[in-house]
């Protein structure tokens, strides 16, 4: 793979010369990539995970563990945030030179809040999937009912037609 600024198109096109006559003479498309891959000089991974806060060097304020109670933690972080804002206002009145620590605390709380909200996204994705599956099942059942009904109607009509013809 050329690593130039404007690389030429890959030379594989020659292998597909007889594709129209014999589709099997050309190579199969490559299988999907697994693991990490290189794209335009950057490393990407196929495994999508949200990097944890520690990976970004940010202290995590809410308790770790398998199942975090999101609502409770979000509410307590909100309260902490309000208290810190009040503290900042107080510090500015009394000891203005110590604002930096307070501002850092406030930004730490915001980072935790956003990280919590981001970690709710996979849950939301699964819930959306469940909802879509339920909708699809409902539509399919409806379609089955409709087809059954129409078939029965058609049978009835045919019987009536036979009856009419014989009665003639």
């Amino acid at each position: 793979m050329a690593a130039a600024t404007y690389p030429p198109p890959p030379p594989y096109y020659r292998l597909y010369k007889d594709y129209l006559q014999d589709p099997k003479s050309a190579p199969e498309p490559p299988p999907p990539v697994e693991g990490t891959y290189l794209c335009y000089g950057g490393n990407y991974t196929t495994d999508d995970v949200i990097p944890s806060l520690e990976d970004q060097g940010v202290r995590q304020l809410y308790p770790k563990g398998p199942n975090v109670d999101f609502k409770k933690e979000l509410r307590s972080l909100n309260r902490e945030l309000q208290l810190h804002i009040l503290e900042l206002a107080d510090v500015l009145v009394e000891r203005p030179s110590q604002y930096a620590r307070r501002v850092e605390d406030i930004s730490l709380i915001f980072k935790n809040l956003h990280h919590l909200l981001n970690s709710l996204r996979p849950h939301q994705a699964r819930a959306t999937l469940i909802h879509i599956l339920e909708l699809q099942i409902q539509r399919r059942k409806q379609a089955v009912e409709d087809i059954k009904r129409r078939r029965e109607e058609a049978q009835k009509l045919l019987k009536e037609a036979v009856g009419t013809l014989e009665g003639q």
Partner: protein, 138 residues
């Protein structure tokens, strides 16, 4: 907009209210007396700014508290089903199995309906042929 995006926007709103409040207070605050050795600071310009400031700071703090309350309300409205990831994955597997079963039944019904349709079309063709051939009924 979905609730998580609303929550994220609400967090950003709280942040902007917070730094607007602090910034406005800091910018508009009257100068403070450092020590009794220094002379009194010159009196501030006519008292309008003082009233405006009190009014403004009240409005800003009301907005901040309102934003925080709205955030709490949104958090309460989160449809977070208990059970966590495994419960959701199990439900997805169940739903997929049910979906497959219903899909197969749908396929069967569809095939039967198509067969019936073919039969009816054939019979109709025969009947019309007979109709056309028998010019006079006997």
């Amino acid at each position: 907009m979905d609730i998580i995006s609303q929550l994220q926007e609400q967090v950003d709103t709280i942040a902007s209210h917070a730094f607007n409040t602090i910034g406005t207070l800091q910018r508009d605050a009257p100068p403070v007396r450092l020590s009794s050795n220094y002379p009194e600071p010159p009196p501030p310009p006519p008292a309008n700014p003082a009233e405006d400031m009190a009014e403004q700071s009240k409005q800003m703090s009301v907005a901040l508290v309102k934003a925080a309350k709205r955030f709490d309300a949104l958090v309460t409205a989160l449809p977070l089903s208990e059970g966590g990831e495994e419960a959701q994955l199990r439900r997805i597997a169940e739903l997929q199995a049910e979906n497959d079963a219903v899909g197969q039944e749908l396929q069967k019904q569809l095939e039967a309906a198509e067969k019936a349709l073919k039969q009816v079309v054939e019979l109709f063709a025969q009947a019309t042929d007979n109709c056309l051939n028998l010019k006079k009924p006997d």
